[in-house]
């Protein structure tokens, strides 16, 4: 199993939960954003800042800041998959992960059991990486680049 799934669930105060829920939706763009957040949660700016720093330190929050649309940062992306025989799974994982252009890679329970995001400088480089993956693994890549985006926005309420 995934090593991260054994992570102990965090013990959270009511204020922490309120902060996590509110801040996933986003912060107002103003000089004192935490002051405004504190008012909504019946707290103070200092307490909110202290709790948020603790949540980051304990890794309940993995990041705080602007969420950029990756496509706007330049480059080309695609989601691709492989159908890897179980006996080769470890070897193919190493082969795929060794490409610096592979940003994410997940094992999934399906005939296509390995799904990864390829992030490159250009579309041409994507095609090259996919070709190299096919040569290296001797497996055909299922390439599913996005044609249309309907929604992106993770919200995990607590």
């Amino acid at each position: 199993m995934d090593k991260s799934s054994t992570t102990v669930m965090a013990e959270l105060s009511l204020l922490d939960k309120g902060l996590i829920n509110l801040l996933q939706h986003g912060l107002p763009i103003c000089e004192r954003p935490f002051h405004q957040i504190a008012q909504e949660l019946d707290s103070t700016e200092d307490v909110v800042i202290e709790h948020l720093n603790q949540l980051l330190e304990s890794k309940v929050l993995s990041r705080f800041g602007p969420m950029f649309d990756a496509a706007c940062l330049g480059g080309a992306f695609t989601l691709a998959a492989l159908s890897v025989p179980d006996e080769n799974f470890e070897k193919v994982t190493e082969q795929i992960n060794s490409f610096e252009q592979i940003a994410h890679n997940y094992r999934r329970d399906h005939a296509y059991n390995m799904w990864f995001v390829v992030a490159c400088e250009s579309q041409k480089e994507i095609e090259q990486v996919i070709k190299k993956i096919e040569e290296k693994t001797n497996l055909p890549v299922l390439n599913t680049p996005k044609l249309e985006e309907f929604y992106v926005g993770l919200y995990l309420p607590v």
Binding site: L27, L52, V60, L61, P66, A71, L73, N105, F116, F150
Partner: protein, 184 residues
Amino acid sequence: MSVSTSQSDALTPLERQYILLTQNGLPIVANPYHWVAEQLEISIEQVLALTKDFKERGIIRRIAAVPNHYKLGYTFNGMTVWDIEDELASKFGNAVGKLPFVSHCYLRPRHLPHWNYNLFAMVHGKTPEEIQHYRSQIKELLEEVLVIRKSDDASQSIHTQSNDMLTSTQILKKTGLRLKRKTA
């Protein structure tokens, strides 16, 4: 169009600097944008204006906190995939994207006969039952536009389901997507 095109060339040097500075996060202090202003040697008004402009242009989706799924107990995720009629894909894709429990929703190409699904929607939950429940809700919404494929062709017989859910059993690699510093 099948790929995201590069927009980074359209960024001004200041905009690139802003992204490079903040893409790993903002400090959690009373005046986070003052820190940005100091680092970029511009005024706080300029920073706020630039941030709002980025948001309007969709370059910044939002200023937000990203939780660790596992620490919050969200240990299950499912990539639900659907074979829906092409002509109605945009309309129904938008509807699925509006469901509160869907985090990502995209139209992607089919590769027949191996892969007949064109709509992808990610769901997250604390139990396997929870993500199954979300999958059923999406199914209710899509019922009338699901493609029914005949399975008389033996080579296609295992690929004729109209939908599926691929649950993640292991993270094999996870890195952030970052704007790179231009090398001179």
